[in-house]
Amino acid sequence: MPLPWEALIPFGLLTTMYAATGTLFSVVKRAQNDGKPPRYGIESWDEMMMDRDKRLTGSRRGQQDNPIAPEGFATNSIWATTEVSRS
């Protein structure tokens, strides 16, 4: 007697849908974080350091280990008078 393989189609569909959305989410998150896994458990200290990294490298996740900062760095700090959205 032939096995009812058509009954497995919904399972296949659901698995594919979960996999597709999961992969898309992961790819989008990595693209937003310069190809690295996103950071989590971020405190105000980490926010402050990431803003400093943005001033140094142009991106909140960019890293460099030069000992000396570029010329404008000493005077380009930002003091917000109101809450600003971070990007």
Partner: protein, 154 residues
């Protein structure tokens, strides 16, 4: 009643409010968060006196003007150490901070690279990582051979 006029529209000449520099100019540290986190304990070991000086000075008076001299020394020492690390232990240093950057900047997830960096720093620069506040009999967490908490993927 006069309203505030932005500098570009005001008739008066612009006077820069920055006070005269009292200290010789020192450049800022250019390392970002992951390399600084990687070098943190070595900065603590290498620059201990200058850091303690600065913190004691700040404890007296929080005004930025009061501690410019000590702050200058702290910056110069940190720059010096990062230059030394790049010169002597470039590959180990870079691998450690790249690992940290990939793993949410958590030390417990990069112990293998950290051991290599600590070995190189000890051999070439004579610096050891010491965690302040470990009880005398206890092994510091970075020296425990098989810790419970570690990176999930080997």
């Amino acid at each position: 009643m006069s309203s505030y006029v932005t500098p570009d529209r005001s008739a008066a000449p612009y006077v820069d409010p920055t006070p005269e520099a009292t200290q010789p100019h020192v450049p800022e540290v250019g390392a970002t968060s992951a390399p600084l986190k990687s070098a943190a304990f070595f900065i603590g070991a290498y620059c201990k006196e200058y850091n303690d000086d600065f913190m004691l000075c700040k404890a007296e008076n929080r005004n930025p003007e009061h501690c410019l001299k000590e702050g200058r020394r702290v910056t110069r020492c940190a720059i010096d150490l990062i230059e030394k690390l790049r010169e002597n232990c470039a590959t180990e240093f870079q691998r450690h901070w790249e690992c940290l950057d990939f793993r949410n900047q958590e030390y417990y997830r990069c112990r293998k690279e950290e051991r290599l960096l600590n070995g190189c720093a000890f051999d070439k620069l004579g610096l050891t990582k010491k965690i302040p506040g470990t009880s005398p009999g206890k092994t510091p967490i970075h020296e425990v051979p098989n810790p419970i908490y570690r990176n999930v993927q080997k």
